[in-house]
């Protein structure tokens, strides 16, 4: 008894269109969530290194709370637990305008923001303390020193782990299917429902994720080369991957 592969199900009927729609939704979801994660990550990562104790505490609470609860729980939380707190008309408006997408964005963004925060913190802490002291001694305030000196340097140092986090975010966006977001994994399941060809659909989904992530990894490695600071991070060897 053998399983008969029939790859044509991937371009017959609506399958190709569904995969494309799924890919677009995955990219949209990941992109918006990434921006949110980036903003939250930089601000809380920086706050974790400042000398003002309450701010450091606040950032620590955010990071530990959000990164230590499974993403799936956050999806349900933002989709099922948060909307009932809003007034009824706002709820109806949200439900009519893709509440599941925005719940997915917030869940992914806030969760990955907490993880990204640790990357930023480690970047900042790898910069010699004298750098900060030098910045302050030129007359910059603490906020200015962070904004103009410390964070720009840290961002250039953390490109490799940040790439890692970004790729994780893209792959984790598939968890949003549990609250009904029609992203790429959802669409591969849809194809499976219509054609009963699970292996073909999953393979197509896998390859699309792989290509998407490879493309991003390639772009990021270019960025890394371009923004490497001589003497602070080893420049990646050119040539073989």
């Amino acid at each position: 008894m053998t399983y008969n592969f029939d790859w044509s199900v991937l371009w017959r009927g609506q399958s190709a269109l569904w995969l494309l729609q799924g890919l677009i939704t995955t990219i949209e979801l990941s992109a918006v969530a990434w921006v949110l994660a980036f903003i939250l990550g930089i601000s809380s990562g920086a706050l974790r290194t400042v000398s003002i104790t309450p701010l450091r505490w606040l950032a620590s609470v955010y990071v530990e709370f959000f990164r230590n609860v499974p993403l799936l729980v956050w999806m349900f939380f933002w989709y099922f637990a948060v909307p009932p707190l809003l007034p009824q008309p706002a709820q109806d408006w949200l439900f009519d305008h893709g509440a599941e997408f925005w719940a997915g964005v917030v869940a992914l963004g806030v969760y990955h923001g907490a993880r990204f925060s640790e990357v930023v913190r480690s970047g900042i802490q790898s910069i010699p303390k004298t750098q900060f002291e030098a910045a302050v001694s030129t007359g910059l305030t603490m906020a200015q020193a962070y904004r103009l000196i410390i964070i720009p340097i840290a961002l250039r140092l953390i490109i490799p782990p940040a790439t890692n986090e970004s790729l994780n975010l893209i792959k984790n966006s598939s968890v949003a299917l549990t609250i009904g977001v029609a992203e790429l994994t959802f669409q591969t399941r849809q194809i499976e429902t219509y054609t009963a060809k699970a292996f073909e659909a999953l393979t197509a989904g896998t390859l699309i994720y792989l290509l998407l992530c490879l493309a991003i990894a390639t772009i990021m490695s270019q960025l890394e080369k371009r923004f490497a600071i001589p003497g602070m991070i080893v420049k990646r060897q050119t040539g073989e991957l």
Partner: protein, 285 residues
């Protein structure tokens, strides 16, 4: 980069040429391991669910336990143990083809396109798609759902029909029944479509059953069958014989009464038509 490309190409080539080979038949496999594995649900009362006492029970599971399992034990001349694994609409066919389970016994509709992938037993239950709504909402059936937010279970035939017949309905698909019901009770959606019997089950299990109503004519025909790997006629014969004996001896109707009778988990009386249909599936000895 070149090496990476080469690796990718060979990976794709390997994936393309895999054929899932299997030398033994299902009965041989069961006989060797002594275990008969079924794929079933944990959240589809009363067919297969985890009850208040944390036991995994249901109508479909009872049918397997009382009718099919003894027959297989007798046929193989040894005591066979039943093992249950969780299956869902989108995992059940891969579970079968990968040999993880031997039989899908839950709420799977027998369809022509599914028959291209798996074989089905006799029909052991027949129902059709309807809607579960909060009592008093204007949704009365498939004619009145245009522009409304409708939940469906992902991978179900109902979602497919709604997408084709009412493309203006805002369809939201959830991986499982509890999530869909949660969305309905909070207003994320205005109706939840599934097979009528499953909705009746949800309503019966809800904290306040009177708040809910199952509405609409059947807009699909959903004959439930048990699925198994294709082209394994000895095993299929065993499953079918078990079901036939259960219907003929009346055991089927006792089990039906236990789950769907007036005192059952989900009261859902057997119509004379369906009863006759079940009986006529039993071929003479």
């Amino acid at each position: 980069m070149k090496r990476l490309l080469l690796f990718l190409v060979s990976l794709i080539a390997v994936a393309g040429s895999i054929t899932v080979c299997r030398a033994e038949t299902t009965l041989e496999k069961i006989s060797q391991s002594g275990i008969f594995t079924i794929g079933t649900r944990t959240g589809s009362p009363p067919f297969a669910y985890v009850n208040k006492n944390n036991e995994w029970v249901g109508f479909s599971i009872d049918l397997v336990e009382t009718s099919i399992l003894p027959l297989i034990s007798k046929k193989l001349n040894k005591q066979i143990k039943l093992e249950k694994k969780e299956s869902a609409p989108n995992t059940r066919i891969p579970l079968l083809t990968s040999n993880a389970v031997d039989l899908i016994a839950e709420t799977m509709t027998d369809t022509q396109s599914r028959r291209e992938q798996v074989d089905f037993s006799l029909t052991f239950f027949a129902t059709g798609a309807q809607f579960l709504v909060k009592r008093g909402t204007p949704i009365k059936g498939i004619q009145t759902i245009a522009g409304k937010r409708i939940a469906a279970q992902q991978g179900s035939t109902n979602a497919k029909i709604i997408r084709e017949r009412v493309p203006t309905a805002k369809l939201l698909e959830f991986p499982d029944q509890p999530a869909a019901f949660q969305a309905l009770s909070q207003g994320q959606v205005q109706a939840y479509t599934n097979d009528g019997i499953q909705l009746a089950g949800l309503k019966a299990k809800a904290p306040k059953p009177d708040e809910w109503a199952v509405v609409g004519e059947f807009f699909s025909y959903e004959p439930y069958g048990m699925a198994m790997r294709k082209n394994d006629s000895d095993f299929r014969q065993a499953v079918n014989l078990g079901l036939m004996e259960a219907i003929e001896s009346g055991k089927y109707f006792q089990i039906y009464e236990k789950w769907f009778g007036p005192k059952g988990e989900v009261p859902y009386p057997l119509t004379p038509e369906i009863k006759r249909f079940l009986e006529m599936q039993v071929v003479p000895k």
